[in-house]
Symmetry: none
Subunit: 204 residues, 4 copies
DNA sequence: AATGAATGAGTATTCATTCAT
DNA sequence: AATGAATGAATACTCATTCAT
């Protein structure tokens, strides 16, 4: 990477970090672009060299994080063969990331949902990539005779995501985050889906 | 109900209906209060005699609809004793309402989520009431020895809602709504949760 | 006129007057809408109840003034039969108005020309009405055998206007307005056009 | 001219040409300096090595063109002795240039007038030089006893320019430029001024 | 209860210009 | 001479809400 390119990447990163902090702190709408610029140590206009507009900045944060999330997931699942165990670890990993990156979680769980573009127009390819790992587990489980063949991977994937996401949102919104045991919730949700998709045990 | 009260209710209803139509058509943000007023056949200021502000109007639609949803649910579940069957009918009923009231679903699934108040500040008592029916099914299932005692009704309730809600949102956002089989999805989700929460079968 | 309508007209007039003053003082571009509002004693938003935008406000001043100019012209020419004398008085009247309404002249001669809409898009009907009086003089002069039949009223009208307008602009832009003798210039221009359009004298 | 100077001039010319094209195409305000730079094949910053700023670029186009116009005029009038004929040819020449250089005319007639500097601050020496030719004709005509001594060359010069300019502008703005007969208009305007300034014929 | 004219807060974004390389 | 990444000033306009009638 050339010196110029490196400086460029570094500047983009500074802006992204500043935006996460400011969005988490004041909310997307209340966050002023000039606040983000000041915190990033750049001029207002510079932000527009890297992002189309304020909303694009929010969406870019989402994409960057989904990429990170996805690659971390791959690492976490590496070497785990049993699809059921993979699903368990998926849920655990997901909530661990939520808990360990509060600011980012706040932005993605809450602020992102206030964006018309995200809700209505944007087709989140990165999210599909991430959730696709779950759908793949289902397919493999079916091939291995562990999961009922009538389970539809696509809609179940959304159901699983909805379940994780809603619990994640309740945690983020909760005043007292310690009452929530996210690790336990992760295992509980995973267990329900694993058991719920499982083939009937042989009735002897 | 006095004539005055009846007239009053009637005007409130006209405003609510107009708001649902305009919100569904143009989105919450793009919808102008004056548009709603014109469609309802009242003056702009009149809306503020019935609602605190534009967002309150949105939230009121949510509450009104949740009340309707809740009472319809009670009716639907009347006489159904088996908690597992109740859960199945809950899911089926939920998606039937989504499908049969597109405009309302559009507003509640999409526009409502763009509201800061709803996402961050509002504690949706009505939603809790609605979902509480599910939690109650879980508790009854546990009492009847049908559901594993370690299942936590509260978090499972949110997981269940998240699953239904996410599928509902995907349907609302889908360009081609016919590709989605909501009835089937309802049964599938219900089945996963019922099986997932069920006690282990006795190993003979 | 009802009380409400009268109040309304009065407010529009206050805004127009304030705008002329501020435009003349600071120029169209430098003039802030809020300056105009403050001077008119209304809120910023009120201006937009009467005018579509800042440029529309400028164009409206032009139209209002052209109406005034036109009706004043009619009065001035009343009873004057000789088309040549009418042209002379037209020029004199035009420059008298310029001199007596410096602020308005400044706005119309200078600021108006900085408006893209006025220059490129706007079809100034009011200006045509005003200049049409000149064209009509030409036609009458031709009917009476005073003006050469080959003179084209339409293009000559623009030439006449261009001549008046350019001299008016030089006067407005002049640092020392006293060096200019507008009355004399009026008679000179009129004389050139009258003589220039006149039929050849009979060569005895 | 050294090679370096020639290269320099060539680059300046490329920028000027690009600017005329872009100004004519998108208008002065909408034209971005970077558009002009791209079209000229130079970097944005390079433009500022040759011109003080965007407006200076516009004014430079005006000056360059006026120089060309002026020298072309001298050539055209060469050998024409009769001041009246010189005036006729002036008008004809002026409109011929307008018609044959549409882009330039568009920029000078329309875009230039949207420039605050041009309208208010700039003292167009080059325009005076050009128009001075007309004033000189008047003076010569007076010396030769062809033009009335009371005609004021200075103000008549502006009137003449205003007449030409206004007709030129109407032509540039006209949707259908073929309906306009610029050559005829040139002769008509010239004729009016020549006759209008002429001494009275001797009454026998 | 109903009206609707008046209010006024609030900020993203562009792009001409600079200057370090 | 040439580049082009970075700068930062500057404000019109909308529309939810109010309140005098």
């Amino acid at each position: 990477m050339s010196k110029a390119e490196s400086r460029k990447s570094e500047k983009r990163g500074r802006i992204t970090d500043a935006a996460v902090a400011v969005f988490a702190e004041r909310g997307f709408h209340a966050a002023r672009v000039s606040d983000i610029a000041r915190r990033a140590g750049v001029a207002d206009g510079t932000i527009y060299l890297y992002f189309k507009n304020k909303e694009d900045l929010l969406l870019s944060i989402f994409e960057d994080q989904m990429d990170l999330l996805r690659s971390g997931l791959d690492e976490t699942l590496q070497g785990i063969e049993d699809p059921r165990e993979r699903i368990r670890r998926f849920a655990t990993y997901h909530f661990r990331m939520v808990r360990e990156h509060r600011n980012v979680a706040e932005v993605l769980q809450v602020e992102l949902r206030l964006s018309t573009k995200f809700i209505k127009d944007y087709r989140p390819q990165r999210l599909w990539d991430y959730l696709g790992v779950f759908a793949q587990c289902v397919r493999e489980g079916q091939e291995q005779g562990l999961i009922r063949p009538e389970v539809v991977p696509f809609s179940t994937m959304w159901a699983f995501f909805g379940a994780l996401d809603q619990i994640g949102m309740q945690w983020v919104l909760a005043r007292n985050k310690d009452k929530f045991n996210l690790d336990q919730a992760a295992l509980d949700v995973a267990e329900i889906f694993i058991r719920g998709m499982a083939v009937d045990p042989p009735t002897s």
